[in-house]
Symmetry: C2
Subunit: 334 residues, 2 copies
């Protein structure tokens, strides 16, 4: 790639050789329910608090992904993982038992893209035969962290999204499996001044547009060169804005765009308003629908672009805007 | 490296070609004050709140490091950065103006080691000519996040550390500069069950011992092969425990060990109890004392091991233990 371009086209084979998704009851009842590895009806996952429940999602997804790959934990050289909670507390307690050298990541809801990117670079560089990448979110731990305690029963505007309870985990290797990772387009922080924490889709759409546009430019591709261009959790409001922003640059992805947040729930029946969100939203959609479509070669090439809104309760209370970031990963059928 | 070993010995040149440290008044008055690039006497750094002040530390350190390296921001291909605050809010707003593709990291106070490791791997792999790595902390934003508001005026036990106000930033390239990075030893999450958030040194010492021991084993080195083995912020209490844990494995680093947290303040005169802490503590000590000693060849080889305590106010309130993590980076004189 040329100076000024952030994308990397991998020189060596990087394959997704194992995956798992563990999701909650509401996600299991949604349109993608049948694609998940495991659905747990208990929102506490047998634990004492929401944070421990989210850690349990990570532990189970990690174990299942390693089993799916047929790789023992001693052979996973590095783990890239993250979640939405302050100080990545779900991750620290979720992955500790694996005893794998760990890089903690925070990219808000773009974390699965960030983790997949860095893990893929490690395999491409020959630094590891097997690397694991995972991200999680939990509806209740996220509401407690970012908005209101559940017991408060506040009303939610129609632009609001519903945080997915789930963890997606992939094991990367050098051959076979579900799909190849052929390149990445790392995300920049983009801020168009959106200040509404109940309208994350609008905050993230500019970053998604930036990453998608740079990906197409850097790889000399048209939208039609992808079977799907998959954003993380823009929801219906963010999707409209994404289309507008790309149209301004002369790019039309109307025939290819899919948003995990729109797919994961039936907004009418499940009362989820603008769609699903959270690190887990794109992670479980990847480790279910997307990788299976690639494995069956129903899709040949997908641009996976999880989107993150960079805010905290502190930045929100201090009146700051909500910048976005989106990390792009190119997946191709083997 | 063999199966089961996490360390990487770089095959290609990775150099620290620029650096900067921006620190607060108390740090400027300490024993390392003369080594910092810039000291700002104003704890708010001219901003409206503590979080914005910490973001300003990052922005200034980044600008100064690029200037020191003689590299324009358009030529920095990636940025690895993090801080201690929930959702990395100091980083998001601190580095946004650079417009550089960014990977947000959370490794608690080990973040500078995590950032240097991943940035170095990118250069070694040929994915970038220039990559930036930075980490920050701010006394007031950290106290607000983890302990008590400053106005509460609570007493601090002697095992407590004092969060450093500062940001250290390095620019990595392929030749010249202050030092070479010749290898890394990624950290595992280690939990010996410490539950005292006022005794972080004890929580982090087991992780530091694990990383140092694995580094010596993986690279077939003795402690004397390093001029210094530098931990991040164990403080006096953690240092004693680190020595004991390594002695149990037959390793004596008494002649080489240095802790940034112990060096950065004069504990007697500055009333900082067990020492300094925070991501910024090891970051400004690296981007001052350590890299200058290497540049002058007073030290030939250093193992830099920033140490992190993986807790949040939520995990503490829920009675969880405090696991630790430590990322090792091998620096050698050019």
């Amino acid at each position: 790639m040329k100076q000024g371009q952030a994308s990397i086209a991998f020189q060596n084979p990087v394959h997704v050789v194992g995956m798992a998704s563990v999701a909650g009851k509401k996600e299991g009842e949604g349109p993608l329910g049948h694609t998940f590895t495991e659905v747990d009806e208990d929102p506490m996952l047998g634990k004492d608090n929401w944070e421990a429940a989210e850690s349990e999602l990570q532990r189970r997804a990690g174990e299942l992904a390693m089993k799916d790959a047929g790789v023992e934990k001693e052979r996973i050289r590095y783990l890239f993982a993250g979640d939405l909670l302050g100080q990545l507390i779900a991750t620290s307690f979720g992955v500790m038992s694996f005893n794998i050298p760990t890089y903690g990541l925070y990219g808000a809801c773009s974390t699965m893209g960030e983790a997949m990117s860095l893990a893929a670079m490690m395999v491409d560089a020959g630094n590891a035969d097997h690397v694991m990448a995972m991200a999680s979110s939990h509806f209740a731990s996220a509401e407690k962290q970012f908005r209101f305690p559940l017991a408060y029963g506040n009303q939610r505007p129609y632009s609001a999204t519903w945080t997915v309870t789930g963890c997606g985990c992939t094991v990367l290797g050098t051959a076979g499996g579900y799909a190849r990772i052929t390149g990445v387009t790392p995300g920049k922080i983009v801020d168009l001044g959106v200040k509404d924490s109940m309208n994350m889709g609008a905050a993230m759409a500019p970053a998604a547009a930036d990453t998608i546009y740079r990906n197409l430019e850097d790889f000399h591709r048209k939208p039609g060169d992808y079977d799907r261009i998959v954003t993380g959790d823009l929801g219906t409001v963010g999707q409209t804005l994404l289309m507008e922003l790309l149209a301004e640059k002369g790019v039309d992805i109307g025939g290819q765009h899919m948003d995990c947040g729109i797919e994961i729930f039936d907004a009418q029946k499940q009362d989820t308003h603008a769609g699903g969100s959270g690190c887990g939203c794109s992670a479980v959609t990847l480790c279910g629908l997307i990788l299976n479509k690639l494995r069956k070669r129903e899709w040949k090439r997908v641009l996976f672009v999880p989107t993150g809104a960079l805010l905290s309760s502190t930045s929100f209370n201090e009146g700051q805007s909500v910048p976005g970031i989106a990390h792009g990963v190119v997946l191709e059928a083997v």
